[in-house]
Symmetry: C2
Subunit: 96 residues, 2 copies
């Protein structure tokens, strides 16, 4: 189920204050992570990948050397759900 | 050094017959790989990542679940070099 108003105020707002931006058209959130180099960027992706598979919820993401550009939304629900909040929080934690 | 005419005929042509497309504006090549699922897609990315680091030459790439969209070019030379050919061949081999 898509996030309701209360959940957006409570769960989404802190993410938006932590570098995530909201695309209202897609109801998706995006963030660009920058690391020291490719090994650190891909290391972050690898740890995220295993969590994503465990959560059964995967990011749309791209990588160019030290940068990882992530977009999260829940395709089955055409917008943001608690799964996106959970994965966003985990990625922020993994990025350190 | 950017690929010359002979190298393009000899090295690039087989890649273009194997699913790679050439963007003349950027002088870059791109390919979309599709796998059974996320584990296979990210497994391919992981193996590629280690080779890329070893080659000191990294792809621009994005992933959405079972798909991996790759673009190769050599930023230092504003176009395609033998490094791109080498990495493209390796990725085709790794994708199996």
């Amino acid at each position: 189920m898509r996030l309701n108003e209360d959940e957006r105020a409570h769960d989404l707002a802190p993410l938006l204050q932590n570098g995530w931006t909201h695309d209202a058209d897609r109801d998706a959130i995006s963030k660009v992570y920058a690391f020291k180099n490719f090994i650190d960027a891909f290391g972050f992706m690898t740890r995220t990948a295993i969590w994503a598979e465990k959560y059964k919820h995967h990011p749309e993401w791209s990588n160019v050397w030290n940068k990882v550009d992530v977009t999260l939304t829940t395709h089955d629900h055409d917008g943001l759900t608690e799964l996106d909040v959970k994965l966003a929080r985990k990625m922020d934690a993994l990025a350190g």
